[in-house]
């Protein structure tokens, strides 16, 4: 019998379970250059694919001549739509119920669209050949503005949809219209607006941006013609979904397809979709019989794969004179680009945009979203947010500030006044979501106190007076934002993608010597799953995290799951992990009872062992039980210690937070310095505070990029004007301020460990805090709203318009 020598505290520490700042197990390989990303994969005989892309936003393809390209030494094939047509592969289904051209069929619809796929022995000869494919185009007028795209006489973009008056999400009211999605109570909202004492109205654009992970998208496809097996390594945020889609498209049975996501260099939503490069690589490997690699370069990444946002929102918010919000209406014109390739759950073509009542108890609300085709890249992905939640949060957080201006009320006070109160949870919003838990007042009060909000406001007052006296050319702005996210998609009853319920999974095997392996349906792209999921399990089954291997991303070994995006890993796969762990523990309890010759119920769990109640000196450790599982189990029980759990979450989780940003705007240059940024997050139970903090830093930095400088700007001809990192703003360490982080903890009542997910919150809450701060800097000069991004030029233009600049 083992002697109980260690203290409970020592045993707990050894586990490195929930709540510990466990160092990451991934880091050893990454810091030594031993990561294994897709472009690191090198297979014998491997060829390289490269695309010929459209230089035009909208044009008819008159002819394609491959002759010169095929003469380049090393070139094996040049594929065009004509080659894919007999295989019915020139179009592929999108995740949103539309189709997307794999290689342009007769027409190109956006700059950078895939026209031909060159396959060659190395990337240099492929690139040489790309230049030699002669494509003759006839240019057509391009539509880059969704409002103009919906004009009666606008050119028809999608020839393949000609005459179709309905699509995957209902009727189409115009040839460039995709869907109308409507939710809420139109009549009640109309009444609230008509009878309101005060109504504020604003047109708010959330510009087109791009997730732009540091690693671009790519894959290696390898068709083994002898046994008919296809293996694809790639930057896939949802490997199992890719396998299913690949099977449906190619007709290869699903058991003969193996999808592997190796290390992924950041995803942020960019790597959820299925791109033409994947399909072309697979086809090319089938045609040539050898592996084919395709890696997009940065320009291709920005031009063609997965933009986000492009939401043009018109809002009206009604309130009483003393600031009680009574109604909210929103209409969105959603620019989806040339194909509807959003990755939203099927029933939600506008994602969870209807979380746009935010953190407020608003009695009546109504939302309509019109999806529109334009000559821009397809996408509309959830860029570091749950589906369209960033758009929704930005909308409401700007609207509340706009209303505060109109009411002449402090924006923090207006928020406090309208918050859903703690005792109202679970709370059903006017647009139908059931918020699981929250304590908004506590969070905001803590934030305001931490930054000395009254002190900041009086400093701002002095700053404005000094500005008026001509003593300074800088204006101080204070941005407050309070967000509620909706993450963890989601319950199968209302969330599926391509008919696949959005559950997730975990399979655990405990080895005889008391170590274990856990496999999940998700895939880390930097979130540190190998570290954190082991922590969840360590606490559940009493095996030290360092003795638990976590594996993801190989569809041959991992259980089916819907992948990692929309902050769903912790809420869904994290729950599956805890549940699978509990199954292990339940079996372990029976084994322990048998070994100790007591009834199951006479045992109690103690960190890493079962003890006999009332006789604590009698116990069996998890390690002992594990060994016993393989040689001595109760009669009738199967040997082994394994479990699998497929977790269908009963509800989404609703993380929230309060952010405060302080900026100093130089009115003569437009340069806006972020003096201070305080972020309080409540993500429920905290699994690893170190990783949470890292996620918050990263998300805030992406929010900074979006609010202060990012925009995928198209000119009238459909040229993307900033398709390189020279022109597309990614902050360096110099532009990035130091972040202050804080937290409250309000566990999710329905999640097995109470965790809610955090990776995307800072992006959701951050953007509006920055934008509110810039708008606030000019509030006293009469500004209510100015569009993002708040780059130096635009900020200076705003100052000029308000006659604050030196010249004016």
């Amino acid at each position: 019998m083992t002697v109980d020598t260690e203290t409970a505290q020592a045993r707990t520490q050894k586990l490195e379970g929930l709540g510990t700042k466990r160092k990451r197990v991934e880091d050893a390989r990454f810091t030594q250059g031993k990561g294994n990303y897709v472009d690191d994969i090198k297979l014998p005989g491997m060829l390289f694919g490269d695309f010929v892309r459209s230089p035009y936003g909208h044009a008819r393809i008159k002819s394609i001549n491959k002759d010169a390209a095929l003469k380049v030494p090393g070139v094996k094939a040049v594929l065009t739509a004509a080659d894919l047509k007999p295989l019915k592969l020139h179009y592929m289904p999108t995740l949103a119920g539309d189709v997307q051209a794999v290689l342009a069929d007769e027409k190109v619809l956006f700059q950078g669209q895939e026209v031909a796929f060159v396959v060659a022995e190395d990337r240099y000869s492929a690139a040489d050949a790309v230049d030699l494919v002669e494509v003759e185009y006839q240019e057509l007028p391009a539509l880059v503005d969704p409002t103009k795209a919906m004009a009666p006489g606008a050119p028809e973009l999608r020839d393949d949809l000609k005459g179709k008056t309905s699509g995957a999400h209902g009727p189409r009211k115009h040839h460039n219209h995709i869907f109308t999605w409507e939710t809420g109570d139109a009549a009640a909202t109309d009444k609230a607006l008509k009878s309101a004492q005060v109504v504020a109205k604003e047109y708010i654009v959330y510009q087109r941006v791009h997730p732009c992970p540091l690693e671009t998208c790519g894959c290696v496809a390898s068709m083994d013609k002898i046994n008919g097996h296809l293996t694809v390594w790639g930057t896939f945020q949802a490997p199992h979904a890719v396998r299913t889609v690949a099977s449906l498209i190619s007709g290869i049975p699903e058991h003969k397809i193996r999808i592997i996501s190796p290390d992924i260099g950041g995803g942020f939503g960019n790597k959820v979709g299925v791109y033409p490069g994947y399909i072309c690589s697979i086809v090319a490997s089938i045609v040539t019989g050898v592996p084919v690699k395709w890696i997009e370069d940065r320009m291709e990444n920005l031009q063609a794969t997965a933009f986000a946002r492009d939401y043009h929102m018109t809002g009206e918010i009604a309130a009483t004179k003393d600031g009680r919000i009574t109604g909210l209406r929103c209409h969105v014109l959603a620019d989806h680009g040339a194909f509807d390739a959003c990755a939203d759950p099927t029933k939600y073509p506008a994602g969870f945009f209807n979380i746009c009542t935010g953190s407020y108890d608003i009695p009546a609300a109504h939302v309509t979203v019109d999806g529109v085709y334009t000559n821009k890249a397809p996408g509309g992905v959830a860029y570091r947010c749950s589906f369209r939640v960033t758009e929704a949060s930005y909308f409401i957080e700007r609207m509340v500030d706009v209303l505060a201006r109109k009411l002449n009320m402090d924006p923090a006070e207006l928020r406090r006044k309208n918050f859903i109160r703690k005792e109202q949870f679970p709370y059903t919003s006017a647009l139908g979501w059931e918020y699981d838990s929250g304590d908004y007042h506590t969070a905001l009060d803590k934030a305001l106190k931490a930054v000395d909000y009254p002190g900041l406001r009086s400093e701002q007052k002095r700053n404005r007076e000094a500005f008026a006296r001509g003593e300074t050319r800088k204006l101080m702005g204070i941005g407050v934002s309070f967000f509620t996210e909706i993450v963890g998609a989601g319950p199968i009853k209302n969330c599926d993608i391509l008919g696949l319920g959005m559950f997730d999974s975990c399979e655990i095997r405990v080895h005889p010597t008391g170590s274990a392996i856990a496999r999940l349906g998700t895939i880390s792209q930097g979130q540190g799953h190998a570290t954190t999921f082991a922590q969840i399990l360590a606490t559940e089954i009493g095996i030290p995290a360092s003795n638990i291997t976590v594996e993801e991303g190989d569809t041959d070994t991992a259980p089916y799951g819907l992948g990692t995006y929309g902050s769903r890993s912790t809420p869904v796969a994290g729950a599956a992990t805890a549940m699978a762990g509990r199954k292990i523990r339940a079996k372990a309890q029976m084994i322990a009872a048998y070994l100790l010759e007591v009834h199951d119920d006479d045992l109690e769990w103690d960190i890493d062992r079962f003890r006999v109640k009332g006789a604590p000196e009698r116990f069996k450790t998890m390690a002992e039980i594990a060994f016993s599982a393989y040689n001595k189990v109760p009669p009738g029980m199967e040997p082994g210690l394994e479990a699998v759990s497929y977790y269908d979450p009963p509800n989404m989780t609703y993380p929230f937070g309060a952010y405060v940003c302080v900026v100093d705007v130089d009115v003569d240059t437009g340069i806006t310095e972020v003096r201070r940024f305080y972020a309080l997050d409540d993500c429920g139970t905290r699994i690893n505070p170190m990783i949470i903090e890292g996620q918050v830093h990263g998300g805030l930095t992406e929010a900074l990029a979006i609010a202060m400088g990012q925009e995928m700007a198209y000119d009238e001809l459909g040229n993307l004007k900033n398709a390189s990192l020279l022109d597309f703003f990614l902050p360096t360490a110099v532009e990035t301020p130091a972040w202050e982080t804080d937290y409250t903890t309000t566990p999710s009542p329905h999640h097995p460990i109470g965790a809610k997910g955090v990776g995307e919150s800072p992006n959701v809450g951050g953007v509006s805090a920055f934008s509110n701060a810039v708008n606030d800097a000019f509030a006293h000069a009469g500004l209510t709203h100015t569009q993002m991004p708040h780059d130096h030029w635009r900020v200076w233009k705003t100052a000029e318009r308000l006659k604050l600049t030196a010249a004016a």
Binding site: L214, I264, G266
Partner: protein
């Protein structure tokens, strides 16, 4: 295209390879020499993922032609640890201070930080931020990278002091 005979000293090893003169150094390293630590994030010299040390300076190896590198002495992330396997102080401190997430920028970031600390062994936070501004990270928000570099500077200083 005719090939050239390229001689390099990489991570203290003499290597020779045949390559087209136009081949970019990053491709020579990654595809011919099997050193996949340095990554490609943009191939337009903006992101720094491909940073290596060449003749005692940080270079973005996506913007160096093989022909330009002939005869050069190079250090990549793979050569950062001591021959006995002891990790460099920067490699240790990136882990302890959570200075990485997806890890894609990390090899370039550490290689750059290595040169920065050679040039300025005791940098201020602002100097660190400026010193790594040629290296983009999309995951960490830099705060912990800055912390990690500063901590490594301290470690290196105390090691040096002990040795003196």
């Amino acid at each position: 295209m005719s090939k050239m005979h390229l001689k390099l000293k990489v991570n203290n090893r003499d290597v020779e390879t045949l390559t087209e003169p136009r081949t970019l150094l990053i491709h020579v390293l990654r595809e011919q020499l099997g050193l996949t630590g340095p990554h490609i994030g943009c191939d337009t010299s903006h992101c720094g993922a491909c940073t290596v040390d060449m003749n005692g300076r940080s270079v973005k190896s996506c913007t160096v032609l093989a022909a330009q590198a002939d005869g050069a002495t190079l250090l990549t992330i793979e050569g950062m640890a001591s021959p006995d396997g002891t990790l460099h102080a920067l490699q240790e401190s990136f882990r302890t201070h959570h200075g990485l997430q997806c890890g894609f920028c990390t090899p370039g970031m550490i290689t750059r930080a290595y040169r920065l600390l050679q040039e300025n062994p005791n940098p201020t936070e602002a100097e660190i931020r400026f010193g790594i501004s040629g290296n983009l990270c999309r995951c960490t928000g830099y705060q912990n990278i800055v912390k990690a570099i500063r901590a490594a500077a301290d470690t290196l200083a105390s090691v040096k002091e002990a040795a003196e």
